[in-house]
């Protein structure tokens, strides 16, 4: 039988090699991403301690309690190395440039990091720069502040000399740098800045290095309660490794699903190619049966061929995948918190090839059933009706089961596996139906008065043995992926631009102290800037709920309780009498509608989600700890809040009488007519009130765009595989219909068509194909993006029409170019030579 397979393969599937190329692309995507996942896991394991920089990190949002400090001091005396890092946001003013920028300050004390090394430029500065009032900065800081090494950087009341630039920092996530560049200063100059005295949000961390792992374990075991309390938490290098591995593995697995989608597209291509193949070979299969071959044998010959070609495609794909794997660390450099070293993973390669073969065979089975069922009589009677195979149901089931298994294998959990299987099945089905419908409509919609070349080009979509649906499906899916990302991203960014439009604030000053408020307002007047809003902020924690201390509430709920964060966090609350645009009362009543009350607990309005996590309803009593003062309140309303609106929003809003007298800071909102005025105001503001931070929304918008770009980069990269798959299927379809196309070209030329006319016919055909795919893909993408905006982000939606039109035009142009290129040989030959070749 092997010989029969080989003999048949000579003239058989080989022409469909290009369709197997689509399988190769999918396998390449899978191998690349899964090998890269393994690389990342290896690298994390190798760099776990470097990533944390220590064996143990103890951190808090408040200064470490005295008891803990005492404990650490005694540990230090016992030979444990300890370093401290204090971090907070602050405005930095560079001289001589005069530029200001919100930066993340890190004040260092001790030998952090204990593991790994930090590269600086000029080199070797990390250990030495702390001898004086010097600062090291992220490269971004120099650019944003228009500063140079050697310039002066003002932080609060202290001037630092910029000694150099930090090139890498442990656990460095590129995304975080986008929120504001980092500035490193020696901790002993921190007090002189006077920045910590003014109620900004500060993080405190201690880093510990132990002589042995046992010492670490013993330290944690004996001091667990002190280092994991309500305000303090700890992380070990092992735990950080687990978290990072898990997080990145999830990311990798999700990216792998995009690769799997590309592979399934390849499967669709295979099914389409095999269907054509079967149509051609049905006669010879019948002849084989006439000659005595058994039903099973004939079927097996072709299944074996599909498997062989799948193997060839998958092997090529695996090789390509390893190549891509080498590329991925570069592509994802901005997103990953560590350096990834690459090596070859044989297991990943073998699995990838196996999956590729499985997909090729599963998708080939359905069309091959026709061959299994071919009656020998068919060899002499062409018009013999074919019977439906009862195995059809089994093959469908195998297809569904295969899809589920593949999804489960690649997805991080059963839920997302099911979600993926349903989504890909649904998307495929909708794309397929849409393609079918659109193709029908297109045929009807071409007016009889249109020029002949155009009508013929459209009619060509329906030529016998066409693969219009498969190509539309494959290209459409790739376009769908890319277009969805594009539409969602433009909508998110547009949202922000809209909020910075016209009368909206675009400049926010926060951490304004009570005694500075008048001065800041005056500064606005000096710069002719409008005062759009002043919002008081009162930090507080929850002390008790319905009379029960919060520690007891938490203890009763157990340590793994989902809403834990809501009990332990520091709330930044406000008070006012009116609702703002971004919120809506969904339960209870807002106090301006209630009868005035001056006694009893003050009313508070909670955001719906946080109320749910706290287990609170209308009438619940919450006692707050406002900087040592206990403030009793009763929940009288619940609100939904549109967090995406760029304005100060709050989990808890208090009745003014509850907080008006409490220590507070203010957020001041204004609108600068242009960047220069805004920058001048910020510079003045930092000079006069160094503790006040200012945020330029234009900058935030650009930052968000950059962050989204980075986040979606990996997905877009994977989506490219789908597009490549679609293009290969298109090329395969063109190649498979080569004879037919040549006949048409020759015939038209013989009947007197010029080369230009023939080209126009073909161009119309390919452009129509590309447009069909684009319309289907973009249509579905718009729907998907609308759903994402509506349900996920709860934001209004507007499709970027011009962008989408350009997108569709590009898709049509690309399809036309690829099609014309793939079919160019049919155009070049004189008609007689072509006729002769056809008859050979």
């Amino acid at each position: 039988m092997l010989r029969m397979v080989r003999r048949d393969a000579r003239h058989g599937f080989r022409r469909f090699g290009l369709h197997m190329g689509a399988i190769a692309i999918g396998v390449a995507a899978l191998v690349a991403i899964n090998a890269f996942r393994a690389d990342v896991a290896d690298s994390i394991r190798a760099q776990a301690r470097d990533l944390l920089g220590a064996d143990l990190e103890i951190s808090s949002r408040a200064p470490l309690p005295d008891s803990l400090t005492a404990l650490l001091d005694s540990a230090a005396r016992g030979g444990v190395d300890i370093a401290y890092v204090t971090d907070f946001a602050s405005m930095a003013l560079a001289a001589p440039s005069g530029h200001t920028r919100l930066v993340q300050v890190r004040a260092l004390e001790g030998g952090f990091p204990f593991y790994g090394s930090i590269t600086t430029d000029p080199p070797g500065l990390w250990r030495g720069f702390r001898t004086g009032p010097q600062a090291l900065v992220d490269p971004g800081a120099l650019i944003q502040l228009a500063a140079h090494v050697g310039d002066t950087l003002h932080l609060g009341d202290t001037a630092f000399t910029i000694a150099g630039v930090v090139r890498n920092y442990p656990g460095d996530v590129g995304l975080r740098a986008a929120l504001g560049p980092r500035v490193f200063i020696p901790a002993r100059y921190l007090a002189a800045t006077h920045l910590l005295e003014r109620g900004s949000r500060v993080g405190y961390a201690a880093y510990l290095r132990f002589s042995t792992p046992a010492a670490l374990d013993q330290f944690i075991a004996s001091h667990h309660d002190e280092i994991r309390s309500r305000a303090v938490r700890y992380t070990t290098a092992d735990a950080r490794e687990r978290d990072l591995t898990r997080g990145l593995d999830y990311l990798g697995r999700y990216l792998g699903l995009v690769g799997l989608a590309a592979l399934l597209l390849g499967g669709v291509g295979v099914a389409s190619a095999v269907r054509l193949f079967v149509e051609e070979r049905i006669e010879s299969a019948a002849v084989l049966r006439c000659l005595g071959a058994r039903q099973g044998t004939v079927f097996a010959i072709y299944v074996a061929q599909a498997a062989l070609l799948g193997l060839a495609g998958s092997t090529a794909g695996a090789a390509l995948g390893v190549g891509v794997q080498l590329l991925l660390p570069r592509v994802l450099r901005g997103v990953l918190p560590l350096d990834v070293s690459v090596r070859v993973h044989p297991g990943v390669i073998v699995t990838g090839i196996a999956v590729g073969v499985a997909v090729a065979v599963i998708f080939a089975l359905l069309p091959l059933l026709r061959i299994r069922n071919v009656p020998p009589l068919r060899a002499i009677r062409r018009d013999l009706a074919e019977t439906r195979d009862r195995w059809r149901v089994v093959v469908y089931a195998a297809l569904a089961a295969g899809l589920l298994l593949l999804a489960r294998w690649q997805a991080p959990n059963l839920r997302s596996a099911l979600g993926f299987a349903v989504a890909i099945g649904g998307t495929g089905l909708v794309l397929w139906l849409a393609a079918l419908a659109l193709i029908r409509v297109t045929r009807r919609a071409v007016p009889r008065s249109a020029r002949y070349e155009v009508r013929q080009g459209i009619a060509n979509l329906f030529r016998p043995r066409n693969q219009t649906v498969a190509v539309t499906l494959a290209l459409g899916f790739g376009i769908f992926l890319v277009a969805t990302l594009y539409v969602v991203q433009t909508n998110l960014v547009r949202r922000l631009s809209m909020d910075t439009g016209a009368d909206r604030p675009n400049l926010v000053a926060f951490d304004v102290q009570t005694d500075e408020l008048v001065g800041v307002k005056q500064l606005l007047v000096t710069h002719a800037l409008p005062l759009l809003d002043v919002v008081p902020i009162v930090p507080a924690r929850i002390a008790a709920i319905d009379g029960v201390p919060v520690d007891s509430v938490l203890a009763a709920r157990g340590p793994r309780h989902r809403g834990r964060w809501a009990f332990t966090r520091e709330y930044r609350n406000t008070y006012r009498d009116t609702l703002v645009n971004s919120e809506q009362v969904v339960a209870g009543h807002w106090w301006s509608n209630a009868p005035a009350d001056t006694t009893g607990p003050a009313q508070v309005s909670l955001e719906e989600g946080v109320a749910e996590d706290l287990g609170l309803t209308l009438g619940s009593r919450v006692t707050w700890n406002v900087q040592g003062v206990r403030v009793p309140t009763v929940v009288t309303s619940l609100r939904t809040v549109n967090w995406a609106r760029f304005e100060p929003n709050f989990f808890a809003v208090f009745q003014p009488r509850a907080l008006a007298g409490a220590p507070q800071t203010f957020v001041v909102l204004t609108r600068a007519p242009n960047e220069d005025v805004g920058a001048a105001f910020q510079t003045d503001l930092v000079r006069r009130y160094p503790n006040v931070s200012a945020l330029d929304l234009g900058l935030v918008e650009r930052t968000l765009d950059a962050v989204l770009d980075k986040v979606t980069l990996a997905i877009r990269f994977m989506a490219l595989f789908s597009i490549a798959s679609g293009i290969l299927i298109l090329i395969g379809a063109v190649a498979a219909s080569r004879r037919q196309r040549m006949m048409e070209t020759v015939l038209l030329k013989t009947l007197g068509a010029s080369t230009r006319q023939v080209r126009l016919v073909l161009r119309t055909e390919y452009a129509a194909l590309g447009l069909l795919a684009a319309v289907v893909g973009i249509g579905l993408a718009t729907l998907g993006a609308w759903a994402a905006m509506h349900f996920l982000f709860t934001l209004s939606f507007a499709p970027p029409v011009l962008g989408l039109v350009l997108f569709a035009a590009a898709a049509a142009a690309l399809t036309t170019a690829v099609g014309m290129l793939a079919g160019r040989e049919t155009l070049r030959r004189p008609p007689l030579e072509a006729l002769r070749r056809l008859s050979e």
Partner: protein, 228 residues
């Protein structure tokens, strides 16, 4: 009408040059009807292709209606065919995605300027003349072989050609159907006053021509009137 002089055609076959036509001379009078006969491989189809300007000869010239085809570019030859030449093929060669009527219209639409008023009426009239008045909107796959070839005939005459080339027009049809098709072809040829070159194996069909040219191994071995 057709003057071919010293025609020679050489192809590369399996890497070696193969001469299909040797120094062939042939003249066809206006409104003449010539049948070309000969065994397989004698060069019939090659001769037909060269006469119709589907390819350039390796040597020699072809003049159609006074135009030297060798001097024309491929597109110019195509334009010349669109204006002056009709074709009937052995395997019908209808475009599967077009209806019978649309297939007949193709040569008219390929002319510079595209379809003109009256074209649809002419195409419909031709289809009526070959007995397909009730099949105008059928696709080729919905027609029998004989019907498809009759659509082919209608298409061949659509552009009022001066010269018609027919390559084994009955080769794919059974005898009875073939005879019907030939009747229509001869009839249309007479009515439209076309010069016709017909390649065939079929002596009965050849007998209906004014002249029968026999080819063997790329040269003309006899040129006679069928009754002679």
């Amino acid at each position: 009408m057709i003057v071919a002089e010293h025609l020679e055609q050489t192809f590369l076959s399996g890497g070696r040059p193969l001469t299909v036509l040797h120094d062939l001379n042939l003249t066809v009078e206006p409104r003449g009807f010539v049948a070309v006969m000969g065994p397989s491989g004698s060069g019939k189809t090659t001769l037909l292709g060269l006469l119709a300007g589907l390819d350039r000869p390796t040597r020699g010239t072809v003049r159609l209606d006074g135009r030297e085809l060798g001097a024309l570019s491929e597109d110019e030859r195509a334009a010349f065919r669109a204006a002056n030449v009709g074709f009937v093929f052995q395997t019908f060669q209808l475009l599967p995605t077009l209806t019978a009527l649309e297939n007949v219209l193709v040569p008219l639409e390929l002319r510079p300027g595209g379809r003109r008023p009256g074209d649809v009426e002419r195409a419909r009239g031709l289809l009526e003349r070959v007995g397909l008045a009730d099949r105008l909107d059928h696709y080729p796959s919905q027609l029998s072989g004989g019907e498809q070839q009759r659509v082919g005939l209608a298409r061949a005459f659509a552009n009022k050609p001066k010269i018609l080339f027919a390559d084994e027009p009955t080769g794919s049809l059974d005898a009875e159907t073939g005879a019907g098709v030939i009747d229509r072809l001869v009839e249309l040829n007479r009515e439209e006053q076309t010069t016709m070159v017909l390649v065939t194996h079929d002596p009965e069909l050849a007998a209906r021509a004014q002249r029968v040219v026999a080819l063997h191994a790329g040269t003309i071995v006899s040129d006679r009137r069928p009754d002679a």
